[in-house]
């Protein structure tokens, strides 16, 4: 609740900044919790139906939690032509989920992304928001996922030690 109010404050409580606020809520909670949308509705005097309309219209927002790590495979033209769909299929097999789903342990979510503008290094995929990997190979996805897991584990350990 406090955090939502801070976000409203940051954008000056302006109705036209609703999308920016939703971005911040999504970053904070990894999805848009209903309670947060209710707070926004009350604070901005915007009906909940309208906020839900915005939240469901745009692909960046999700009403259900995403995985801890988000794998987004670029499906822009250049990546598709260079086998982006094969990357996505390989990850579907590796993670045993379909595109758009979250693994049961909540560790990974798998999505296809609209062009991320890295056509020069296609096929590309993005880990979380800004970690771009170019010229990826579908036959190496097993190792790719294992490496991410290892890295996260190491990160958690060093955080615990600290």
């Amino acid at each position: 609740m406090q955090k939502i109010l801070q976000i409203v404050e940051k954008w000056g409580g302006r109705k036209d900044c609703l999308i920016e606020m939703l971005h911040d809520v999504q970053t904070e909670y990894n999805h848009l919790p209903e309670s947060a949308l209710r707070v926004l509705s009350a604070r901005l005097s915007v009906p909940l139906t309208q906020i839900t309309h915005v939240a469901t219209f745009y692909a960046s927002f999700s009403l259900v939690p995403k995985g801890d790590t988000r794998l987004r495979v670029c499906m822009g033209t250049a990546c598709y032509q260079k086998g982006g769909n094969r990357i996505l299929e390989a990850l579907e097999r590796e993670l045993k989920v379909k595109s758009g789903e979250v693994t049961p342990d909540g560790e990974f979510s798998l999505e296809s992304a609209r062009c991320i503008g890295c056509c020069g290094i296609a096929p590309a995929l993005v880990v979380d928001d800004d970690d771009v990997f170019g010229k990826v190979n579908p036959t190496k996805m097993k190792k790719f996922v294992a490496d991410i897991k290892k890295k996260k584990q190491a990160g958690k350990q060093s955080a615990a030690e600290a």
């Binding site: 692909a59 390989a90 290094i121």
Partner: protein
Amino acid sequence: MEPRLSVLICSGTGCASNKSMEVMDALRKEIATRGLEQEVEVVQTGCQGFCAVGPIVYVQPDDVFYQQVGVKDVPRLVEEHFLKGRPYKDKLYVPPMGGMPIPKLMDIPFFKSQVLVALRNKGLIDPEKIEDYIARDGYQALARVLTEMKPEQVIECVTKSGLRGRGGGGFPTGVKWASARKASGDIKYVLCNGDEGDPGAFMDRSIMEGDPHSVLEGMCIAAFAVGSSQGYVYVRKEYPLAVQRIEVAIEQAREFGLLGKDILGAGFDFDVEVRRGAGAFVCGESTALMASIEGNPGEPRAKYIHTVDAGLWNRPSCLNNVETFANVPMILQRGWEWFSSIGTGDVSQDPWGGSKGTKVFSIAGDVNNTGLIEVPMGTTLREIVFDIAGGLPEGKRFKAVQTGGPSGGFLPESLLNLPVDFDRLVEAGSMMGSGGMVVLGHDKCMVDSAKFFIDFTADESCGKCTPCRIGSKIMLQSLEKISEGKATEEDVEQLERVAHEVANLSLCGLGKSAPNPVLTALRYFRDEVMAHVHEKRCPAGECKALITYSIDAGKCTGCTLCAKNCPTDCITGERKAAHAIVTDRCIKCGSCKIVCNFDAVVVQ
């Protein structure tokens, strides 16, 4: 002491994903170790454009270009070039077809025929330093405009230059500004469209990341011309670095008195805010973009009343694309005569009479030199694909080039001599779009490619108007039927009919242009489409339902690599003996073909 050498390192998204920032750190460390800090400066720049060979390191004033530089190359590079004064041979550019390494950037074919206007500062400045932009004559045009010119003169200059909107529509910029100036209302907005949604295009990302001040200066000039005091830059959320760089640039411009109240003491106020998109392709459309800035779902409206009269919050709004704004300062600085001397046609009587200046294209797909290029309007497709982009990789033959993203079309080999400008591309059934060009080799299926685009449009259709919402779904279903070998001639006829209906009846540009990939596939590659219908065959070997994978026993060496990589374990065979694929378990993922070093996997 002025440094003897400047080492410019690309920090664009492409190079950064190849660890260019680690290379930069290593260079700084190595230069310090060798005591060269006073003599050699290291500068982080925006996208250089030649993404295919990143990470890129460029040394000035020597004009030496290094490609694919890794951390481990750094000590030798520093020793050879910075200490001994000779180019480090191992990392120089080598043409893909073989030949001697080329040390100088200006001699590399990819760069040689480019003419840089919008990308004038690419790879030369630190995008987070306004001083770098100013040192390259930045904000000079704005200063001239504010101190020496009247708004009408600015509009006249831009109109005469022949500049047309680089976002795809090709609407004459000066004409738009004149309407916005004329529109009545005390509050007017200048908007920058940085919602680069076309898959396969990334010039706007590159400009925002590499030279954000060029966009702000262009907006500021536009604001003076139309009489606006508030601007918005609408940027896709998928471009986090672009958002950050624009925000930094706005801060710095305010500090330098180039944005805000009383700019340069000329009594003119203008400020800019950033708004992030949220992943909706339709928001590149003007009315949808404005709805989104207002905090609403990005649904377009009919344009009986133009946005220059009633746009954002129903006030006069002047919307231009990133690349358009980046061109503006150069036109004011060097004069409309200079700009209109580049390009095609004659705009002296009619602003639609030609395509002037240069255009940035992002070239990707089956070519050797993928990346960003800027060439004069009227350059032929052949020059772009074969001379600048270096042609197709070995073993691939040219089949088509797709221009204009989902709104564009496929152009065949017979049109390679087409001069690329707004009007020629439309005549050929495609469009400029924002300048994406994806080259397709002989092994790409036109049905599959058309399906890819229609799938995209069907998904991104906002759903407000029926022709686009339902029509795109019907087109997708027909294409799926064709690619599965279940279509009849009637299905193809229906596809064609619906495509024309969607083009004629849709509300906004998204729907109007959505059928272009289908229509050009049928216009130029009808035989290939009909092979799916009549012979139930995919000539390019891409449509999964119509192909089978097998192994050529004559070529197979029994290395077992394919079997190891097969996700369904459907490849059998002993080591050093020919392998075979159990077809009914094969999911046609193509892994075996990717890993096979002996070209033994056959797709039929």
